[in-house]
């Protein structure tokens, strides 16, 4: 452990993928680098420890990706999920840069699964990390240590003290003790604020008590808040967050991938009062995955119940928690603390409204719908009548928030007056809202973090050494 009284060339606030990419790149460019991670070593890596892949453009197959995924298709996908809530030049720059990251990542010890194995739908667009995101984070930390990046765990950045558009000093707590450190340049890579329930409460009220935070409890948004309070330009809707449907039995924080539930399209979903509230069969699940968190967040008690029968049960991956199982709908309702009479009534009405137009096909929009219900179910509607019956309680699971720092293509943070900061850069979730203002594309967060982390590290090192 070095002496933190020196003035570092580059200080990196954060310890996830984007922070590590920035720190390693800056160090490789010859800068002295201090990386401050608020989590203890065992939980280092922010939300990156829960990720598993990175979306990458490629014109032809390579050792980790099959077929081709070209710039225009990638851009179209992004445009579709964001509904235009993006910055085309930054987005295209990121997409193009994504094709060139593998060599550097591998040099840093990151390993990938061979192409053609792994998840079927994403084998073309996304490169999968061998061992997942924590393995990637481990590799980057080993590389950073080897190169001589100074790393402090249990060290939270409280404030970046700005003056005239530049960071002059950084207030931290190192293992609980306050300190002030100095650096010529600062890279803010400290993620969003979804784990700061008090901040979330400003927009969502007491509903946040029923939210599950899927990732790290350490993304409290202190760096983001400190900067937004000092004239840094914000981007992204502060009230918005990426929210999916999760098994309600998930832990409050850090439950990651295994608590998600894919039962919705093959089931009906009731709220606390036993009423359906949205078309469960609106579209294929990967496209509707991310709206159900919000839908459930808007229901009383922020809870919902997915109910299916023995026909539907084998069609989806279960969550890590066992399904609640019963021989009758009434019994299932009681087990899930729903009013059994009301639940049975809803299921009966639904069953009566199912119009089997065509053969059931879970692999496409099959047009099996209900008629006369509000709302109707427009695909995969089948009667729920074959016992045993299965149920899962669902809660909104928050992945990340969209509010961030506005940046330019050199990862420089922009001030409210539109001028770039003299020595402040940003990468990762804290600036992802520039490109991903809404929605989500699997593996795109890691792409933004890697591409902007490397730019931020390069630029910060260059500025510091000029």
């Amino acid at each position: 452990m070095g002496n933190r009284s020196q003035t570092y060339d580059v200080l990196v606030a954060g310890g996830g993928n984007a922070a590590l990419c920035a720190a390693i790149t800056a160090r490789q460019a010859g800068a002295s680098v201090l990386l401050l991670e608020s989590a203890p070593k065992a939980f280092r890596g922010g939300n990156s420890r829960h990720t598993r892949n990175l979306r990458a453009m490629h014109d032809k197959p390579n050792d980790v990706l099959i077929e081709a995924y070209r710039e225009d298709e990638y851009w179209d996908d992004l445009l579709r999920v964001t509904g235009g809530n993006t910055d085309e030049s930054l987005a295209r720059m990121t997409i193009k840069a994504s094709s060139g990251v593998f060599g550097w990542m591998k040099d840093c010890g990151v390993r990938f699964q061979p192409s053609l194995t792994g998840t079927l739908n994403l084998g073309r667009t996304n490169a999968f990390f061998l061992g997942g995101g924590k393995a990637l984070v481990n590799a980057y930390y080993l590389t950073a240590e080897r190169l001589g990046v100074e790393i402090c765990y249990d060290t939270e950045v409280l404030a970046l003290n700005m003056d005239d558009g530049a960071v002059r000093s950084v207030d931290i707590t190192y293992r609980g003790f306050p300190e002030t450190v100095h650096a010529r340049c600062v890279v803010a890579s400290a993620g969003g604020f979804q784990a700061n329930l008090d901040w979330m409460r400003q927009y969502w009220g007491d509903a946040v008590d029923n939210f599950v935070i899927r990732g790290t409890p350490y993304n409290r948004g202190r760096v983001l808040k400190s900067l937004l309070d000092q004239g840094v330009s914000a981007i992204g809707d502060p009230t918005q967050c990426h929210a999916v449907a999760l098994d309600a039995r998930a832990p409050k924080f850090d439950g990651g991938i295994t608590t998600r539930l894919d039962s919705v399209p093959y089931s009906i979903v009731l709220n606390q009062h036993g009423d359906r509230f949205y078309d469960e069969g609106e579209d294929v699940w990967p496209k509707r995955y991310a709206i159900w968190g919000r839908l459930i967040a808007q229901q009383p008690g922020q809870i919902a119940y997915s109910i299916c029968d023995a026909k539907a049960f084998p069609l989806f991956m279960p969550s890590v928690y066992p399904a609640i199982k019963a021989d009758t709908i009434g019994e299932l309702a009681v087990k899930m603390k729903l009013d059994p009479t009301k639940a049975l009534q809803t299921v009966t009405e639904y069953n009566a409204a199912v119009k089997p137009d065509q053969a059931f096909d879970n692999l496409k929009l099959d047009g099996n719908k209900t008629e006369g219900l509000t709302p109707n179910k427009t695909n995969w509607a089948r009667t729920i009548d074959k016992p045993p019956f299965y149920g899962y309680p669902l809660r909104p699971g928050i992945t990340f928030t969209y509010l961030g720092l506005r940046v330019n293509d050199k990862a420089q943070v922009l001030m409210d007056n539109g001028q770039p900061s003299g020595n402040l850069f940003a990468s990762g979730e804290i600036m992802a809202g520039n490109i991903l203002g809404r929605g989500y594309l699997a593996g795109f967060g890691m792409t933004i973090g890697t591409v902007f982390g490397r730019i931020a590290g390069q630029e910060a090192a260059r500025h510091a050494r000029n």
């Binding site: 079927l120 850090d254 295994t258 991956m317």
Partner: protein, 369 residues
């Protein structure tokens, strides 16, 4: 397998793995997990014996301790594995030999050496026992008669083979109906056994002490395994020389049995001592402390067998030969006797598990995104 706490824990942990699947590229265990939705105790025994303990999944796991779920697959499967050794031991009831296994192995070694020493000293007479003997044909047999060596050796080793075979049979049945074993599966399994591919953690080796990867364990195990095999080959060659070619031991330094035995002994010594030393520096997080005794005991028994053989090679022809030969054969006897009731059984169950895995390699993964 009986339903035990370890089995329940393994079931829970592998259900978490099945909902995550990030580790599927590490080894044979996770692709085998993905073929199953529910895990019977027999399935878990199979998966536990498939696990080579490379620890890659422990360091990659976002749910590993101190996460509140505390997922620790290498530790859990090692516990199940140890229980499976006891469960399948032959004859029925011999499984208790796996509790306090370190003590058992150490006691067996001490008793074997004492037995061989006392018998050979008594039959030779104390004075003759310590007399330097010329290195003529059959010199060893003046200390211990050839027939005694052969009877005890073949009987103890033969018993071990029968017991190991019966254990393997119990394992195979318990793991449930297997896929058809074709020639392809046999070759794949043999390849996996001989290369220890699954100690590769997906290519870069194991995690011994930290998230850093290393080929150390794999190389040391290779030293131990191939050293052991060379020693075994030396014994067999000696047996053939003596019985069929009429050339009794001891053999010339440049003869096949001596070269095989010396090279094998050195490799075995390096491998076992290296693996023993690793116990001191390995991260105890994914290890099972209660199994350490049995593991260390068998490593040291193998090391001492190799060491005493090399000593015998050096001191043969001197007055220490009788002592060295008796001690060496004492260690070998102990090794044969404890073979089916020690960590050595892992080789049999691991190989059988790899064969099952090779046979099910083309089955379709359940679920997935």
């Amino acid at each position: 397998m009986q339903e035990t706490e370890a089995i329940e824990r393994a079931r829970h942990e592998l259900e978490v793995c099945n909902a995550c699947r990030y580790c599927e590229g590490f080894c044979a265990v996770f692709p085998a997990v993905e073929l199953r939705r529910e895990f019977s105790a027999g399935d878990l025994s199979y998966l536990a014996n498939l696990c080579h303990g490379c620890r890659g999944c422990y360091y990659a796991c976002q749910y590993a301790p101190p996460h509140e779920w505390g997922i620790n697959v290498p530790q859990t499967l090692a516990t199940v594995r140890a229980e499976s050794y006891a469960e399948y031991a032959w004859p029925a009831g011999a499984g208790t030999l796996f509790s306090r296994n370190g003590t058992l192995v150490a006691l067996a070694a001490a008793l074997s050496i004492a037995l061989v020493l006392v018998l050979s000293a008594l039959t030779n007479g104390t004075a003759a026992f310590f007399t330097a003997r010329p290195l003529v044909d059959g010199a060893f047999y003046t200390v211990i008669p050839l027939w005694a060596m052969q009877v005890v050796g073949i009987a103890s080793f033969g018993y071990a083979l029968v017991a190991l075979w019966m254990g393997a049979r119990n394992f195979w049945r318990d793991a449930g109906p297997a896929q058809k074993i074709g020639v392809g599966a046999l070759f794949i399994a043999l390849h996996d056994v001989l290369t220890l591919k699954n100690l590769g953690g997906g290519g870069n080796g194991c995690n011994d002490a930290s998230e850093r990867f290393s080929m150390r364990r794999r190389r040391l195990h290779h030293g131990m395994f191939y050293g052991f095999m060379l020693c075994f080959a030396a014994t067999c060659t000696g047996f053939v020389y003596d019985t069929f070619l009429g050339r009794p031991a001891p053999y010339h330094l440049l003869s096949a049995p001596v070269i095989l035995g010396a090279v094998g002994g050195v490799l075995l010594l390096i491998g076992t001592i290296g693996l023993f030393a690793m116990k001191f520096v390995d991260d105890p997080g994914p290890a099972v402390r209660t199994l350490l005794g049995g593991e260390v005991a068998i490593l040291l028994l193998l090391a001492l067998s190799a060491w005493s053989g090399l000593v015998l090679l050096v001191v043969r022809g001197t007055g220490a030969m009788g002592l060295a030969l008796s001690v060496h054969l004492g260690f070998i006897l102990a090794l044969f006797v404890v073979l089916p009731y020690s960590k050595m059984v892992h080789g049999v169950y691991r190989s059988a598990a790899l064969l099952r895995r090779a046979a099910e390699r083309n089955m379709k993964v359940l679920g997935g995104e």
